[in-house]
Symmetry: C2
């Protein structure tokens, strides 16, 4: 017992692990909350997508909405499921980033797969373009119309259909909010296999449609592995019933996979069956401060070795991200470490035995301190502190968005070059004299999921404009391609990355994608202008 | 310390956990070894598939192999890569179960994706049907020709292309043998995320083509989650280069997913990129004897709670399986428990800290003993004992196959009804008076992966014949459909399940599958007569 004690003690002394000072001060607004504002004036200053991207032309093949169409929709939907009011439409026409703004005149909110089927069949026959919309938290402009596409919102489909307490298989409507599902499972001893900062707003259907990654991917893997089945309505109105709850099923092509990450371009996901793991009894969260990226890599490697099966998150952010988090979020927010560090790591462990986990984490942290790999650190002592440490990480996207017009890049690559992307981008803007007080850009921020080789590179500008775009693109895409990376690790393509697909996929891959799209959506009514390159 | 000791002690006393008596006696022949025999007379008594299944008719649209074709293949392949000798062909024409026998006159063994591309392009233009073949361990007749299809064996493509020691991404040719890859990774501290009894013969390409599940799925998930990328040659010769090593990449439809589990009907997988997890430092294996299936379920639930993140396998088999394992495998094979039990469970844990794992496992087992959930049990004390316990489980398929002509069903369903399938089948054969000494059937055996709701139901007959088939089918498929199960959990469809697909998939799903097949393989040259229903 003596050895143990002295080890914990030395750790405390160096890193103030016991956190006498509570973390309660950190309580970022909205980090896990809803984003969509219902104040239409909020959007009034946003520019229309078509004005910003003049290369976009409305397709001649689509018809414009007529009174006859409205009558048809009124014949199948309750009036509360049809939105035509100009002010109400704003929240559906504008995206979370305030970068894209469409001009839809109609939002439909079906409440069953059958209604979705009727709507799509009609739109397909009448050549009316549509945009499926979940929680509208997507970050690539995929969830809002470009022109006058009809928005089909899944917000009225939010029932949990079944839950199997033995296997953990959850079946629910696509419009269920991620956080609501996680709460539901928490009460039953289970956990959603994915988690993201937008959990208070995003839908499980939107998560599947974007193949969202997020904060738990390191532990529970991607949706391609955890989604057991889907119910999908195809453009011709066919309801594909593949809502299996089986963990294993090798009967034919795994069609559901094609819809995972298809961003509303092939059909509308109306229900999801997903395998939820048991919720761990013990959770630990540590926040560490480090001097350089080499130390960060060393910490990552050692965590895979020493924390191994209990490691459930390994997130990082840089000094700039921490500065913004403190500046743009609620007054009094402070980070629990005494100095500002070039790099921060948030490590989460979850396991079934608190004592074992504590011992593993303490041994691990002690080793890092002894070897001078980390400079400082705290370990949360209760669930409030855990929540508060996570709130820093989860508040970063929002903090960045408050720093101005934020160009967001979400790239993946081999871990060793992960942070070089940030440094090279910064150096480029410095060289161009474009960053600093009174300049076009105010900061370059890096954060992300180290365990997945996934960097969120944010470049904050005074406004979204061609000059700013041209300074970043295609530079960043070329950089990524040169490092064998992906130009979109988890956010998808939407309207902001579709024309850059060739940086990550070969011509034959893109051609095959086009053939699948053509096969399933021959009239191209599903979320047009996006996803696949326009030329 | 006292408490701990007394707990371990009581466990030992009841369950002989320390295993003074070594397990070495169990050493089943070939459990992890190669199956294919190169003695052609071994196959002489096998019946041709076409004689057994007269409904199969050779498609008029395929040409027959000509001298001109042979000349072409000789112009692109070394002579050592072309097999035409009648005796040599037998091993490629016959399947592991000795249930299917084709009549191919030609085996090609390309050594690069380019050669595969040349072959397929030519075959596609000349309307020559082909069968991709990996290790030929498939259990549904998918890997051997029905008529005179050309066999394209991947056996000459067995190079490891790269391994990333930071991320664990392994890139290798499709013809690499699973066990070879696992050994390679073991030396580097990593592990293949899948394992199966056929590991000594099966190829990683075959594993991907069948979406093999196996013994580690419970821990590491399915190949849909762990495969990072594929290189695939399409029938028209296109080489789809999607050999990404990135853990996250949301750029476009995830095309590789469609080839996972496509059983050679869409293209030939020539290389695989797969994410390997860190190999756990500590492994424990326990074998338990139980009195009934309720106890088995209770044990499973408790293992999810108590072993949780260190649980890496939860396999079961029944008394009949144990009897056969002892009877048909090497002389002197004995199981380490003193009596024969109705049910056996093999539990494996793997983690990063041996002491912690031992404590969790002991507490868990002690609880089960105390509550009388398990009757007896042993825990392996070293790697030889671990190997020997696994050898019982892995030897069962082979033991069953020695029991006669074995009808194999590989079904998944909700765990609570898992064993009822065996009981109902047994009851049916008893009622029909078809089982017992001198009868058509000798035994009904159940084993499988409890954690995945996956039962291997084996029905041993004196011979494969229509009478036997009719007593089992479609009964078992109807039973499965009634219990919302899958008629093929992991083995796939091939020739033995394709016409039964409708028991697990709706007409609209099957229709969409046909459209995908038609899109990619319009001439139908890839592995014809299989996978999709013939009518
Ligand atoms: C603060 C914040 C943090 C985030 N963190 C992460 C993160 O860590 N990881 C990550 O991957 N993403 C992250 N995102 C991005 C975003 O939240 C995810 O992509 C999310 O999955 C989108 O879900 P949604 O319901 O809001 O979809 P929406 O934004 O409404 O739609 C996204 C796309 O999916 C389509 N779609 C939506 N629902 C359906 C449906 N039912 N059927 C067919 N198509 C549909 C839309 O047409 C659109 O193309 C974050 C976003 C924010 C604002
Ligand atoms: C003793 C034993 C135990 C088994 N245990 C399991 C188990 O636990 N779990 C499980 O899932 N399966 C199991 N199997 C079944 C079998 O081993 C697996 O399906 C295995 O993945 C097949 O690999 P293979 O290389 O032998 O493929 P093959 O048998 O050669 O081929 C199987 C199918 O895949 C196609 N194919 C093969 N290679 C390629 C390629 N490169 N490109 C395109 N198509 C290809 C073939 O055309 C065929 O349709 C077991 C089999 C045996 C004999």
């Amino acid at each position: 017992m003596l050895t143990m004690l002295s080890r914990i003690h030395s750790l405390r002394a160096i890193s103030r692990l016991s956190l006498k000072r509570p973390l309660g001060g950190i309580n970022f607004l909205g980090a896990r909350a809803t984003f969509s504002t219902h104040n239409p004036s909020y959007f009034a200053t946003n520019r229309f997508t078509v004005d910003e991207y003049p290369y976009l032309k409305r397709s001649e093949s689509f018809n414009r909405l007529s009174e006859k169409d409205i009558s048809y929709f009124k014949s199948i939907l309750a009036s509360s499921s049809i939105t035509q009011d100009a002010e109400d439409l704003e929240a559906f026409n504008n995206d979370w980033l305030r970068k894209y703004r469409g001009q839809s005149k109609l939002v439909l909110k079906p409440s069953s797969a059958e209604q979705v089927s009727q709507i799509l069949k009609y739109c397909n026959e009448q050549r009316l373009a549509v945009v499926p919309q979940g929680g509208n938290t997507g970050l690539v402009g995929g969830s809002v119309p470009v022109f006058d596409e009809i928005v089909i919102s899944l917000s009225h489909m939010s029932k949990i259909r079944s839950f199997d307490e033995v296997s953990g298989a959850l079946v629910c409507d696509a419009g269920c909010i991620l956080e609501v599902l996680d709460k539901y499972l928490e009460e039953r001893g289970y956990i959603m296999p994915l988690d993201l900062g937008a959990k208070g707003s995003c839908h499980i259907g939107g998560n599947v449609a974007t193949n969202a990654g997020g904060l738990r991917l390191l532990r529970y893997g991607s949706l391609h592995g955890t989604v057991l089945g889907l119910e999908v309505v195809l453009p011709d109105g066919t309801i594909l019933d593949n809502l299996s709850t089986l963990r294993k099923d090798n009967t034919g092509y795994d069609l559901k996979q094609l819809f995972i990450g298809s961003e509303g371009t092939l059909g509308i996901i109306t229900a999801v069956s997903i395998l939820s793991p048991k919720r761990s009894k013990a959770t630990n969260v540590a926040l560490l401060g480090l001097n350089n990226f080499d130390q960060l890599q060393a910490t990552f490697k050692r965590s895979k070795d020493e924390l191994s099966e209990i490691l459930s998150a390994f997130e990082f952010w840089d000094r700039e991200a921490m500065r913004l988090a403190k500046q743009h979020l609620v007054a009094g927010a402070h980070d629990p470490l005494q100095s500002l560090y070039p790099f921060y790591i948030l490590i989460e462990t979850s396991g079934s035995n608190k004592d074992h986990d504590d011992e593993k984490l303490n041994t691990f942290l002690e080793g890092l301190m002894t070897d001078d790999v980390i400079q400082d650190g705290v370990v949360a002592q209760d669930s409030t502190q855990i929540h508060n440490l996570w709130a820093i990480r989860e508040g970063i996207p929002e903090a960045c968005s408050k720093a101005g017009a934020v160009y967001k890049y979400d790239i993946s690559m081999p871990v060793p070059v992960l942070y070089q992307a940030v440094e090279d981008m910064r150096a480029r803007l410095v060289k161009e004299g474009a960053i600093g007080d009174g300049k076009l850009f105010s900061s370059v921020i890096g954060y992300g999921h180290v365990g997945d080789g996934n960097l969120h590179l944010n470049v904050a500008a005074t406004e979204f404009c061609k000059e700013a775009t041209d300074l970043i693109e295609p530079y960043i895409f070329e950089w990524t391609a040169r490092h064998a990376g992906s130009i979109s690790a988890e956010h998808g393509l939407g309207l902001s990355k579709n024309n850059h697909l060739h940086y990550s996929k070969s011509p034959s891959m893109i051609q095959l994608m086009r053939r699948f799209k053509q096969l399933i959506d021959p009239n191209g009514i599903m979320n047009p202008y996006k996803y696949l390159p326009l030329v």
